[in-house]
Subunit: 239 residues, 2 copies
Amino acid sequence: MNLALLFDEDFVAPNRVVLRGRRLEHMRSVLGATQGDQLPVGRVNGLMGWGEVVTLTASEAELLVTLDQPPPSPLPFTLILAMPRPKMFRRVLQTSATLGVKDIWLINSYKVEKSFWQTPWLSDDNLRENLTLGLEQAKDTAMPKVHIRKLFKPFVEDELPALLQGKVALVAHPGTATPCPTHLNKPTALCIGPEGGFTPYEVGKLEEAGCQSVHLGPRILRVETAVPVLVSRLFDACL
Amino acid sequence: MNLALLFDEDFVAPNRVVLRGRRLEHMRSVLGATQGDQLPVGRVNGLMGWGEVVTLTASEAELLVTLDQPPPSPLPFTLILAMPRPKMFRRVLQTSATLGVKDIWLINSYKVEKSFWQTPWLSDDNLRENLTLGLEQAKDTAMPKVHIRKLFKPFVEDELPALLQGKVALVAHPGTATPCPTHLNKPTALCIGPEGGFTPYEVGKLEEAGCQSVHLGPRILRVETAVPVLVSRLFDACL
């Protein structure tokens, strides 16, 4: 936690917050904070700055906050991801938030196991918690939006073409002929398949919607590795 | 496991292997392999190819192997890493192996907790196991070398200057003025600090040894995210 992310419900006055739970625990046991300390904070979808510890007890901390710095720029990036298996999903969420991805679409695919959609990590609270951990790692405040689409065909036919308007549109597809472009640094949408990849039918549908198939070289990466590799490759000037 | 990595002790004849344990379990329960199937295999530090399942029982599988393809190119990269906390270390090892990193130096730093060096993940068997998992993910056979240096000063003063000969030498240091270069695609050594970063003294010693301090932008990345981001940024033509 390189920054404590503050939510509306933390504010007891326009410049005062009361923290409990995980953030309090971190302040006490990891940071060893004491009264008078200045800690980095940021308001969700708002400015960043400092919180001065006014009171600190075992059950709560009160901070006087000054928020005057903008968060880092968001990436001009739409990540469209076949729903990963739960333990990977949680890390991919955190990593995506840390990297500055703000628009995440979770879609179905033939090789997504039905059970993946049952994971508690997809609840609103758990999504927010994991995205918060990613933002707090990065020192960012802009909460990513996560869209859940459990049916492949309606998403690809009815929503995807509009979503791709004005963007470079790619699908990562091992074995295809074209390498993934580098340092694009402009609005891009990228589809990443499940373990084992999209089926040829699915790649065909994504191409029909406007995506170009690209590969990342001979190595097969797990999705949690592919996301930072692709973000870094596409947006070297934006990180 | 996109490829089964074969070790000398698996060979019962020049073109026959017997597999048990994890690889057998994977063949049976994940791949659903049966007699006659052709599975991707590779010999550690050797060629890749196919293994035909000759016999398959609950306790062992015998494969007839044909090895005739070279593994993907290694990255011209030396990764010098302050020892991460154990649960991260394991993922960093696997990810580094998957990305094609072949030379990994684990070093000490003021902010490396002493307990990190006690982790069982540093045993020869566990290092090999996790690097194997990373290679099997990538479809690669060239086993990375891991060097353990528990004393910072002797490493930096006595070994590092020679290690950096003929390489671009960098230390990732948030807050410094120079951004990390992109698409170098030539021999590079990169030092990554612990959570909280190298101390100013340590950065000074690394710079004395020939490293240039570079930053990765305003976001603070966990080491498991920084490694793929940096590899992708430095070696876009090599992946």
